[in-house]
């Protein structure tokens, strides 16, 4: 057989394997076969959500479409949706605020099962005290360090119940950059001094997580969560929202692409290795480079509602019909949740870093 007679390894591959037939031929909202779920997620599935601020959009969108998002810390009555969000209610399945890094997720779940204790966990600003592991959920802080501990213990009990009862844990990875307590390695969701606390270069150090570290953190989280809830399945996504600021010294665009690339790679590896870990490509769907930025607001950072909807439209048909229910199409959806808000209402601590831009 001559070389020219040999078939190409690309021959016979499905349309989805080629850019022209897999991407170019479709509007972003309708790319066929982009998401092939490993396991069904239906409106009756108990879903826990966490992650960077894009995860708030996913949570809200799923809730509006009638999916069963666990809410272990529902907002007290009487709060407006805006006030509830400012206190961290309704954003995720518990009131942990944004979880940008895999290390933070690993810490939180371990702490909920008393397998981890964060160092320097209470920050002070003036005469008010903040939970350093979720400083944004009490905008004014609390009156005492004791109150912070009291509230945290209640919160951790809810996180524990969330892990024990969830059927699917949907985690949106946000970035690789974080700040840590150098002596202990405790990682915080925000840099000390941004919302509360004081930045002390002798204690707090910048950390840019590498592939192996993130991979190890997610593996550890997965193993730990499965030990307590063997039936739990994980869906990973990567936030398409670029980072607001970087402390790497690199240009923020490069730093952002690095972050997203590493996170995407980790998600891909775990998806390939673990039957109970899946990857949902919201990142790919919304990415500016592919769709000429039409899913982003003018700041080229905030994802438009159409972008979120396009991503979730891809999620839903792939998971649809498994238990006989179908979500209404976007055009006729009713906003039934108590946390229906506009795009500007997403609670993103990292946006606070923008104030340091000159």
């Amino acid at each position: 057989m001559s070389d020219s007679d040999r078939p190409s390894p690309y021959e016979g591959l499905p349309r989805a394997s080629f850019w022209r037939t897999g991407v170019q031929a479709y509007p972003a909202e309708a790319i066929a076969d982009l998401y092939r779920p490993k396991f069904p997620v239906t409106p009756s599935t108990k879903i826990a959500t966490a992650g960077s601020c894009f995860a708030q959009r996913i949570t809200r969108n799923l809730r509006e479409r009638g999916f069963g998002i666990i809410d272990r810390e529902p907002a007290p009555p009487g709060l407006t949706p805006e006030a509830a969000a400012s206190f961290g209610y309704g954003l995720y399945s518990a009131r942990y605020g944004n979880i940008y890094t895999a290390r933070h997720l690993r810490q939180l779940v371990a702490e909920a099962f008393r397998a981890f204790r964060p160092a320097d966990a209470i920050w002070r600003r003036g005469d008010r005290y903040h939970d350093a592991m979720r400083p944004s959920v009490e905008p004014l802080g609390l009156l005492s360090a004791e109150a912070v501990s009291d509230h945290r213990q209640y919160h951790l009990r809810q996180v524990r119940q969330m892990i024990l009862t969830a059927e699917v844990f949907l985690f949106t990875m946000g970035m690789t950059e974080a700040w840590e307590h150098a002596p202990s390695g405790t990682v915080y969701p925000t840099a000390p001094g941004v919302i509360s606390g004081c930045y002390d270069p002798a204690i707090h150090q910048f950390k840019n997580f590498r592939f192996q570290e993130i991979y190890a953190d997610l593996r550890a989280f997965f193993k730990f969560a499965k030990r307590h809830n063997p039936g739990l399945k994980i869906i990973l996504t990567v936030s398409p929202v670029p980072i607001t600021a970087t402390a790497t010294g690199h240009h923020v665009l490069s730093a952002s692409i690095y972050s997203k690339s590493v996170l995407r790679a980790v998600a891909g590896q775990l998806q390939d290795e673990e039957p109970d870990i899946d990857y949902f490509p919201s990142y790919e769907i919304v990415m500016k480079t592919l769709y000429e930025g039409r899913f982003f607001e003018e700041n080229a950072r905030t994802v438009r509602p159409e972008g979120v909807a396009a991503a979730m439209d891809a999620f839903l048909p792939a998971n649809d019909g498994k238990d006989g229910q179908r979500s209404p199409p976007r055009a006729v959806q009713k906003k039934t949740g108590s946390f229906v808000r506009t795009v500007e209402d997403v609670q993103c601590e990292d946006v606070l870093l923008d104030k340091y831009a000159q």
Binding site: P76, G78, A147
Partner: protein
């Protein structure tokens, strides 16, 4: 002659009874009462500068309690809005699940004091009382005083009151209620009259002295007793104290 318009739910009965006992001392005041059960107030509309009942039910109650009138005109010198949904008993079922930072530790869900204040404020803002006040402000800029429903009698068998009193949280909850009411009333340029101290057994309960012999506001002519199984409605003595306080509050406002 000072014309005062009293608007409220069944708790206007105590004030009406009190007024009958004290009106000889206030010959310059004419009091007109527009009363109806709390939920019926949802049918109150603003129309051409007056408040009108949008339902026949509300019309009937207004006709009965005023002696023939059904519209609340803007010609009164002063307005009192009593009870409706500014009542601690409507808040407690929601608040009982939560505790603020300065409350005793318990199994209740912990909230920051800031969040707790938002909750109380939100519950009271989303109330029929606020709707009535807002509508009233659309027809008049005359003085308005908001009067809360009285705290229930100290003999009410609901254990939550005893529990909150024992823990010391009762006073904190009452203070939150009063602060929120004053703030919301202030937003509408109205005043808020806290329940007079001398009528209280503790921060969340009224003295039985002011419950004994209370009468029904509707279904009679203030001549049918509520009975001992009612713990919410107060008597003429209570009404007189509240009205005197309301009149004094206004006098202090005008001539401090």
């Amino acid at each position: 002659m000072t014309k005062i318009c009293l608007i409220g739910d069944s708790h206007v009965g105590a004030l009406q009874s009190g007024w009958l006992a004290m009106k000889h001392a206030f010959p310059e005041i004419e009091l007109t009462t527009f009363g109806a059960p709390r939920t019926v107030f949802a049918g109150l509309d603003v129309l051409d500068g007056v408040l009108v009942p949008a339902t026949e039910k509300l019309s009937a109650y207004f006709r009965h309690t005023t002696g023939g009138q059904v519209t609340i005109e803007n010609s009164y010198d002063r307005y009192l809005v009593c009870g409706i949904s500014w009542a601690i008993r409507f808040l407690l079922p929601s608040l009982a699940k939560f505790r603020a930072e300065d409350h005793v530790k318990s199994k209740r869900v912990p909230l920051s004091s800031d969040c707790y204040a938002h909750v109380v404020l939100g519950l009271m803002r989303n109330s029929l009382s606020m709707q009535v006040l807002t509508k009233l402000r659309q027809i008049t800029d005359r003085p308005v005083t908001m009067i809360p429903a009285p705290m229930p009698s100290e003999r009410i068998p609901a254990p939550i009151y005893a529990s909150l009193c024992a823990s010391g949280d009762a006073g904190k909850i009452a203070a939150q209620f009063n602060a929120a009411a004053a703030l919301l009333a202030g937003e509408c340029n109205a005043g808020f009259l806290e329940q007079p101290m001398e009528t209280l057994s503790n921060p969340l309960q009224s003295l039985y002295l002011y419950k004994r012999g209370s009468v029904r506001t509707f279904g009679g002519n203030l001549d049918i007793e509520q009975g001992e199984d009612d713990y919410q409605h107060m008597n003429a003595a209570y009404g007189e104290i509240v009205l005197r306080a309301a009149f004094a509050a206004r006098n202090a406002e005008v001539d401090p």
